[in-house]
């Protein structure tokens, strides 16, 4: 049986090779995501069946029910999905340009840069009674700026006649440690109220997002994703190593810079709205790689869907399991992520 299907259209203006297995996995995970979507929209203090949720979404319900689902749960679900997709795709891109399956947004310091910015934001724009003097809506911007600054530092410090993946990884780790130290410093210096507020954010949570957040994040994410998918073939080439990439006619350095910027933008926008949800950028591409191999045409879409599943699942568990207490999604991505990751290691060890 042939495992591939060639897709060609418009007199071969468009042509792709589709891996059937990867396509199948994409469909499975999309269905899975859909199921979680319905369950998540139905769960909370008011519980609706998935069937009911579908009815509510199509407007066949009381205004109270539709308010709960449409105004409270839906923005949160959509942000979770967007954030999961962004982090997973950014992780996959970083793993390609750093040529290392262990690289992730967390350990390159980019997420950390956003954390420092947020803690600093809370510290700078609060008065004595810990009330913010500017609108909280500026916080995502601060996070984005923080992430970008660290990404540029990473780029500048790692530059030495070009960007070697080796230096990028090590300097990323250094910057990550730096951001951790700075975050701790600012948290200790500020009052405890801010520390705990900042801590929720650093752990990562989609608590309290609304439709206006979705309106900002959705277009950004979609544009960045389109760019990422256009770049897939360059990502494949990057993974083959510098010499081969050059020999095959790719402009390696320029593409590396472009992809670093792209992943920063993805991470920055995700972190801005959901904080430092950890491990998604590491786990999602890893799981996807196990299922469909490392060709990016297959890897990128599946990573994206798995990333969305992970964050949505984590947030749904976090807001329902311990009612009335809400546990930030980041706690669950770490607690689900960590054991799974260790299990992966264990299996590879024996393989």
């Amino acid at each position: 049986m042939r495992k591939y299907t060639s897709v060609r259209a418009f007199r071969e203006k468009f042509s792709f090779l589709v891996d059937r297995k990867a396509f199948k996995y994409n469909i499975y995970f999309l269905i899975f995501l859909g199921v979680i979507f319905l369950l998540s929209a139905g769960m909370g203090e008011q519980i609706f069946s998935p069937w009911k949720v579908i009815n509510i979404l199509f407007g066949n319900s009381s205004s109270f029910e539709s308010m709960i689902v449409q105004s409270f749960r839906m923005p949160r679900i959509i942000i979770s999905i967007l954030v999961g997709v962004s982090l997973a795709v950014a992780g996959a891109i970083l793993q390609s340009i750093l040529r290392n399956p262990l690289a992730s947004p967390d350990v390159t310091g980019i997420t950390g840069g956003a954390s420092v910015a947020v803690v600093l934001f809370l510290a700078l724009f609060s008065n004595e009674s810990n009330v913010l003097t500017v609108s909280i809506h500026w916080m995502p911007l601060a996070a984005f700026i923080g992430a970008t600054i660290i990404a540029f530092l990473l780029y500048i410090l790692a530059w030495k006649n070009g960007l070697s993946p080796f230096r990028l990884v090590l300097i990323g780790i250094g910057l990550w440690a730096l951001t951790k130290a700075l975050t701790n410093l600012f948290m200790i210096l500020g009052p405890i109220v801010q520390a705990s507020q900042a801590n929720v954010w650093i752990t990562g949570s989609v608590y309290g997002v609304n439709w206006s957040n979705v309106q900002i994040l959705a277009p950004i994410t979609i544009i960045l994703l389109i760019i990422a998918f256009i770049m897939t073939r360059h990502l494949n080439i990057q993974e083959l190593g510098e010499d081969i990439a050059l020999g095959i006619g790719s402009k390696v350095e320029r593409q590396r810079l472009g992809m670093l910027l792209l992943s920063t933008a993805l991470i920055g926008s995700a972190v801005a709205f959901a904080g430092g949800i950890g491990f998604v950028g590491l786990m999602a591409p890893h799981i996807a790689r196990k299922l469909v191999g490392s060709s990016f045409g297959n890897l990128l879409p599946l990573s994206a869907i798995i990333g969305a599943v992970l964050v949505l699942l984590a947030d749904t568990i976090g807001r329902t399991l311990f009612l009335p207490v809400e546990v930030p999604a980041g706690v669950f991505t770490a607690t689900i992520g960590a054991p799974y990751f260790i299990y992966l290691l264990y299996r590879q060890r024996n393989a």
């Binding site: 290392n100 967390d106 706690v331």
Partner: protein
């Protein structure tokens, strides 16, 4: 400027020791309440219960001694890890030992309300061991085995993992956050002498093992295969050295929380002075590590006076530029 001559190396060691005494003494004198030399001497000879004397005996003295011991242990642990992994950027914090120990301590504190010193110490050892094993497994996966870069990345991943788990626990319990936050950044302040005394035996054992193994480690740094060829039981050497690392790193975390970058900076400085002989590296690391941390701690009192900065943040701010410098040089041993 390497010291080649044996006598000079001994002289250097003595000089270092004197320096260590001096900075310890400075640590007693300097701070928010500046004290005079006479007060310090009186505090020990004619203790009169005055505020100053109490500060010296109960606050400054433990602090200086803890700084010395923790600095020494972390530097030695760093040197050992660099030899074991043949990775110049290895250190207890980068390889996740500190994060592992912290996580387990926070769990014990929050979920089981364990505060006993002995228990905390053993929990720290457990955490450091688990983190160490995970990093080792993770770092040796794949075709090309345990390369420095994979080791470093897996260490960072494990550190991130335990870090976010700790963070998650703290989110759920705000009152604990206050309690733990300062400790989590690494600090030698506000600890009683008893804490030091209860952990000291393990650390001493760790240092003795390190010194005893120094020669074997010299051989191990030439590579596993070479060491085996020379008749070394490399598994045994690695295991013992690993235990020493866990005693030293775990013990330090139990006392002072996760303090980073001493394990990278100090061994590198030491190597530029005395080369790659671990029989000298280890004692030098001990003394220089002590000096470094005590000085950092004195600095931590002044940076944002009257507020204290946790010393772990000081060492990180000094150490990270150094780390980046080494990384830019291509991660070669100094």
């Amino acid at each position: 400027m390497q010291l080649h001559n044996r006598n000079r190396k001994i002289a250097g060691l003595v000089l270092g020791f004197v320096l260590l005494l001096i900075v310890n003494f400075l640590s007693l004198v300097l701070g928010y309440t500046d004290l005079t030399i006479n007060t310090v001497i009186d505090a020990f000879n004619h203790f009169d219960g005055s505020n100053e004397h109490i500060i010296i005996q109960d606050v400054r003295l433990p602090r200086a001694l803890i700084g010395t011991v923790v600095g020494a242990s972390l530097a030695i642990a760093g040197a050992l890890l660099q030899a074991l992994t043949r990775n110049p950027l290895a250190s207890p914090d980068i390889l996740g030992f500190n994060a592992g120990a912290s996580f387990f301590i926070v769990i014990a504190l929050m979920l089981f309300s364990i505060t006993s010193l002995q228990a905390t110490t053993w929990i720290a050892f457990l955490g450091a061991t688990i983190a160490g094993l995970l990093v080792y497994f993770l770092g040796s996966i794949g075709r090309d085995g345990m390369t420095p870069i994979k080791m470093t990345l897996s260490g960072a991943a494990i550190a991130a993992l335990f870090g976010s788990l700790t963070q998650g626990l703290l989110v759920m319990d705000e009152s604990a956050l206050d309690q733990v936050l300062f400790w989590m950044s690494g600090s030698v302040q506000g600890r009683k002498l008893e804490i030091l005394l209860s952990v000291l035996p393990y650390i001493v054992i760790g240092i003795i093992i390190a010194l005893a193994m120094a020669n074997k480690i010299n051989i191990l740094t030439m590579g596993d295969d070479v060491a085996k060829g020379l008749g070394q039981r490399t598994g045994f050497v690695k295991l013992t050295a690993g235990i020493a690392v866990i005693l030293l790193a775990g013990g330090s975390v139990a006392i002072a929380g996760p303090i980073g970058f001493i394990g990278i900076v100090v061994p590198h400085v030491v190597r530029t002075f005395i080369g790659n002989d671990y029989r000298w590296i280890i004692p030098y690391c001990g003394i220089l590590g002590g000096i470094f941390l005590v000085i950092a701690d004195i600095g931590a009192r002044y940076v944002l006076m009257p507020e204290e900065v946790p010393v772990g943040i000081m060492t990180a701010l000094v150490g990270i530029p150094f780390f980046i410098y080494i990384a830019r040089k291509g991660g070669k041993l100094a």
